[in-house]
Symmetry: C2
Subunit: 324 residues, 2 copies
């Protein structure tokens, strides 16, 4: 894994668990056989391991055994990677996590199938837990993700309310999986139904904040730390939250509008990035992310007080404080 | 559903079950929301319903209740359709089941996600059955399918033993799912372990025969009944069993070799199709399919004698006798 420096002290108490999760991921990759193994290895060995960390920590909040939580943690990381692989085909992205995406190295078809393989392994791993309810939550989350992405692809930017569209998009794309992850970990831990509902809300709100910050960092981050070019969303014509705030504030003919209406040359893109960066749109977006984080931390109040619960709360703060 | 005339009398005793399966498929499609619904409806409402029929009939062999088998039957049809959607992206096929494939109408990305949606719904439906073992078999089958297809895509035709490659390809592509379907139905019916093993073998052998016959019909069928152009595999340079038999018999410079080495103009393709059609390769392939069918029918011997078992045996005969 490639954990950012800021995250290291937070994840220290679960370092051994995350090492075992990495072991499970490695094992799945080995079972794939070459040439799939090497490609998946490169993808699965990167990543912050934020989603697996949530699973492990929720297990610890309830004092539950380690091994099934490591299994669930590996499964959610696989599912996440599978959706990334398919998304990179969908968006034709050249770089992910600082590496060339699978579909720039392989035919698109093989890449689609590589995603299917990871999906299937993820489902198989979750089935090992012996709890059909957890499989249902996982499957439901994948339904939401794929349905949401299809809507985003087939919708035009001009129709409807941009803010509402953005909200639905990030709910489907990110918050639904974060919500499902926390919910599954709660079910596995034998939590009460009100706690499971609270965990879903915790994950959902954390996911909303995570995606908003991701969308801000796409504009304000630096390429070497992001592992992908700055302004990637804008170059694709995606209207993210900082763009929405900017457009609300500046209604005239700006570089941002030029890029969104198709003028995607480097000069316009750089001018648009600079304009948004120096506007109040960035702080307004962060502020919205922080509101989600507060709801997320509030939902944690339903869980038993414990060191692991404190770490979950600290992870929430990390999500808005991070710089990549 | 669009059941071939030959199949109608065979499926008559389970007509009501298949109607309910169609209802479940329709329900899933409706849940997808537009514009996904209309597209999936077109795909899911066609098809022979052979895979669902196997599930229902195996349930009846064991005198088990209808409803869970209808659920499993719908799930396997969805999984099958999901793999077809992804395959059409992989192979860039323009027509499937007499209709334009999804990816010729939608961007490839949306098509990939439509397949993911069906996959997820299939897993969710199987999870409803409350038996994690069944989810594992389903997931394992999807692993095998995707891994096998990746190998096929990244392998060149020149290397290794063509017959062995063909065997592995159709095992992964078709037989693994047929095997899994029969196994899952056996588990759901509460069959004994030896019977479940026998059911897996029944499905696997039936799947091998089914794919061989499919590959023969791709050359000998007529376009209107196949729902796709004749010789589609050959046009893609795929080496199927009749082609292998032909190449073993005719080692010189034939139109078939010309097509395989890249001369895919209509004149060469038609000459190649005609050459294979009038050779002994067709009968040799059918004979190999019949051998698989015999193994498949033999495996049925492990199940309790019943009208449903007789229908399963008759379905085996149909698979080699069918003309589309």
């Amino acid at each position: 894994m490639s954990v950012p420096l800021q995250l290291v002290p937070l994840l220290e108490p679960i370092r051994e668990d995350l090492r075992r999760v990495d072991g499970l991921l490695h094992q799945t990759v080995a079972e794939a056989g070459e040439p799939l193994s090497s490609r998946l290895q490169a993808l699965l060995s990167s990543g912050k391991r934020l989603r697996p960390a949530l699973v492990i920590l929720i297990g610890q909040v309830f004092g539950a055994g380690d091994s099934p939580f490591q299994c669930l943690a590996a499964a959610v990381e696989m599912l996440h990677c599978a959706t990334l692989i398919h998304d990179d085909v969908v968006d034709d992205s050249p770089v992910r996590r600082g590496q060339h995406t699978l579909h720039t190295l392989w035919p698109a078809g093989a890449t689609v199938l590589a995603g299917d393989f990871l999906l299937a392994r993820s489902v198989a791993l979750v089935a090992e837990l012996g709890q059909p309810r957890i499989v249902r939550v996982l499957a439901q989350s994948l339904c939401t993700i794929s349905r949401g992405e299809i809507r985003r692809l087939l919708e035009t930017n001009d129709t409807g309310n941009q803010r509402q569209q953005y909200q639905s998009t990030i709910e489907a794309k990110t918050a639904s999986l974060f919500g499902a992850i926390a919910e599954m970990a709660g079910i596995l831990a034998g939590a009460e139904d009100t706690q499971i509902t609270g965990l879903h809300r915790f994950g959902h709100e954390l996911g909303m904040a995570f995606q908003i910050v991701d969308d801000v960092l796409d504009l304000t981050g630096d390429e070497s730390r992001l592992g992908k070019p700055v302004g990637g969303d804008l170059r694709q014509g995606l209207v993210t939250l900082p763009v929405i705030y900017y457009l609300e504030q500046f209604t005239g003919n700006t570089a941002v509008r030029a890029v969104l209406s198709g003028q995607r040359d480097e000069e316009h893109v750089q001018a648009a990035i600079e304009a948004i960066r120096s506007s109040a749109a960035i702080e307004a977006s962060f502020s919205e992310a922080r509101a989600h984080i507060r709801s997320s931390q509030e939902a944690l109040g339903l869980l038993p007080a414990s060191a692991a619960r404190e770490t979950l709360s600290a992870l929430c703060d990390y999500v808005v404080d991070r710089r990549h």
